[in-house]
């Protein structure tokens, strides 16, 4: 028990970087527990008396994963919602009932300040722009940021975490001390300063758009989460017999990492990549709301809320409801999906 508590504390610290209470989601994914579940799944654990004979036909790890995942109704529903949201984002130009930037002529202005109705489901703002259209287009940016940050941090984090966990020694020391340093500064403040300092400046000869800049900055924060997780799993996998067997049969380190250890780390990586999508969308919208993220005229849910902050308490308050709901629904779906995936990969976790 003491071990899992320490892991929980570590994970809580990692989650504190992001400045959110996500520790409950991350904390329950402990490397130790995961490695234990592998033993059972792969038939490496002690078989019961006579168990071998009556064992059902062998199933691959993936078949087991999908079977367990589909039992988790909520996670399946969350996955469906998420696919729907991404489809809405991809096809926003085709679906949106109005133009994103209509000509601000008398006809549009006549439609200004209309509450939600059949004609304008989410109402219109003070310039007569249709809010449903804007929420759909903003979703493109927010979901894109979430996905890109998750992909970049997963690639980078997996590479660094694998090397650190497998080789240990000074590589590991540097990685751990480096990520420790990020845990001692308030993340949101640092992100805001970084955005302000880098905005409008060329990076490696390229002038980045505010969207690309925020993807870059957030990836730089979140790859560490993945790296720590991968490192943790690698540390416990390193001691397993199948790795030793591979080493004894003369496999190179590269082969052991890519062919033997990484496939067994897919679970925690997939779960944490999913959770990073949610964290990235939350952080992006927060930064954009404060004015340090995606800049207008590009619309994101966060900067829509920044623009309509003053509508709170007026009869335009509906402007504040929908972008916020969009963020909440998206992140909630991501978190439920991640939770279901964790259960499917690691049926022994108790939460």
């Amino acid at each position: 028990m003491a071990i899992s508590d320490r892991d929980g504390l570590e994970a809580a610290r990692a989650a504190a970087t992001v400045g959110s209470g996500a520790q409950a989601l991350v904390a329950e994914q402990t490397a130790e527990r995961y490695a234990k579940s592998l033993e059972v799944d792969l038939g490496g654990g002690p078989a019961g008396p006579g168990g071998r004979d009556r064992e059902p036909a062998a199933r691959s790890q993936w078949q087991l994963f999908w079977r367990r995942f589909f039992k988790h109704k909520l996670a399946v529903a969350a996955g469906a919602v998420l696919i729907l949201l991404y489809l809405l984002a991809i096809f926003a130009p085709q679906i949106a009932p109005y133009k994103l930037n209509p000509n601000l002529d008398a006809k549009t202005l006549l439609d200004a300040r209309h509450g939600p109705s059949m004609k304008h489901w989410f109402g219109t703002d003070e310039l007569g722009r249709d809010q449903l259209t804007r929420v759909l287009y903003a979703g493109r940016i927010s979901l894109l940021v979430g996905l890109c940050v998750a992909l970049v941090s997963t690639l980078l984090g997996t590479a660094v975490g694998a090397v650190a966990g497998y080789f240990g020694g000074w590589v590991d020391q540097i990685l751990m001390r480096f990520t420790d340093l990020f845990l001692v500064v308030p993340a949101l403040a640092v992100l805001m300063m970084a955005q302000k300092g880098l905005a409008g400046k060329p990076i490696l000869g390229h002038r980045l758009s505010s969207t690309n800049l925020i993807i870059l900055i957030l990836s730089f924060l979140f790859w560490q989460t993945i790296a720590r997780v991968v490192r943790g799993v690698f540390l416990s996998l390193k001691e397993k017999e199948f790795v030793e067997a591979a080493r004894a049969s003369g496999a190179s380190s590269f082969r052991i990492i890519t062919r033997h250890m990484l496939p067994n780390t897919v679970g925690p990586i997939a779960v944490n990549t999913t959770l990073v999508v949610g964290l990235a969308i939350l952080t992006e919208s927060t930064l954009s709301f404060l004015g340090f993220g995606v800049q207008p005229p590009t619309v994101s849910w966060g900067n829509m809320l920044a623009q309509s902050e003053g509508a709170v308490g007026t009869n335009l308050a509906y402007l504040v409801y929908f972008p916020g709901l969009a963020i909440l629904v998206t992140v909630l779906a991501v978190n439920f999906l991640g939770d279901g995936m964790r259960d499917a990969f690691d049926p022994q976790s108790t939460h």
């Binding site: 028990m1 809580a12 308030p186």
Partner: protein, 322 residues
């Protein structure tokens, strides 16, 4: 025990030193103390002079050591905007933020422990599922949107509904200009405390639930039940007391993060604390505030991490042995 504590404290000193180097370099790279002069007509003449006066033309290492010396001595420079001493400014705001933290942590801890214990005692009951669902909502909630919604539905909706001259809860500031009563203070405090509690309650209650379930399945609980101790007594006397140990350490880590983590809450509710100070300084280019601000918050985070480690050792003797 004492050597354990002393060793932990000694270990965190190099962390603070390295963090200060990192923070110094980061601030140098991302801020421009000369930004105010760039628009000026005399920029070509003023900038090199000012650069020399501030010592920005010296090597980075020299700049760092001279800054670090001043920082340790307590000479933190003065604000560009208010011309006030940065140290007084920061400690003044720190007091305001600490008020928010104390009330927020007390409230969140009480709610989270109650919810966690109930959920563990009645695992898989309807209310347990409800709490689990709510904690997911809390963890997925954009805090700034929750703040806006709380202003809309707890300030304006009741005010318009009952045709009040003054809202029941206030959404701006620490207290009214003329009224310094306790009631007025509470009316200002409710919304920011609620906002900062959303994620704390969601996270802590989940943590308390799982650590309570862990404890309740251990042998000494079964022994206590077997010798005839009542269930409620086992739950609170044996279960809760042990389940609180891991939660305490998680709480300590989270509280450390709050000193620099209330930027959203303080900005939206006009609470004159650390978060608001940072936001204003960053927007107005008051770069002298930023570096000491980062250092102070980093020291708090490191300090509370240390506290978490020490608490763990004090509360759970098994850790010290191993």
């Amino acid at each position: 025990m004492l050597t354990y504590v002393v060793r932990r404290i000694a270990l965190s000193i190099p962390v603070i030193v390295v963090a200060s180097m990192l923070v110094f370099g980061f601030t140098q790279a991302t801020t421009d103390p000369l930004a105010r002069l760039r628009q000026s007509r005399d920029a070509a003449r003023l900038i090199p002079a000012e650069r020399h006066r501030l010592g920005l033309d010296r090597p980075l290492v020299v700049q760092y050591t001279s800054w670090a010396k001043d920082f340790v001595k307590g000479d933190w420079g003065e604000s560009f905007i208010s011309r006030r001493d940065v140290k007084t400014e920061i400690f003044d705001k720190l007091g305001k933020t600490i008020q928010l933290i104390i009330w927020g942590v007390l409230f969140s801890a009480l709610v989270a422990i109650a919810v966690g214990v109930y959920s563990a005692a009645r695992q898989y009951s309807a209310l347990d599922y409800t709490f689990t669902g709510l904690s997911f909502v809390g963890l997925s909630m954009p805090v700034f949107w929750f703040a806006l919604m709380s202003i809309q539905f707890l300030v304006f909706v009741p005010k318009n509904l009952f045709h009040l001259n003054q809202p029941i809860l206030y959404s701006v500031g620490l207290h009214s200009a003329t009224d310094h009563s306790l009631l007025d203070y509470i009316r200002h405090l409710v919304l920011p405390v609620l906002t900062l509690s959303v994620q704390l309650v969601a996270g802590w209650s989940r943590y308390e639930r799982s650590s309570m379930l862990d404890v309740m399945s251990s042998d000494y609980i079964r022994t206590a039940r077997a010798k005839g101790v009542r269930r409620s007594r086992v739950l609170l006397k044996h279960g809760l007391r042990n389940a609180l140990i891991p939660l305490t350490t998680v709480m300590a880590v989270d509280i450390g993060g709050l000193f620099g983590g209330l930027i959203i809450t303080e900005t939206i509710f006009g609470w004159p604390g650390m978060g608001r100070l940072f936001f204003d300084a960053l927007l107005s280019g008051d770069t002298n505030i930023l570096l000491p601000w980062l250092m102070v918050t980093a020291v708090f985070i490191i300090g509370f991490n240390l506290l978490a480690d020490v608490l763990y050792g004090v509360l759970d003797p098994r850790i010290r042995v191993s």
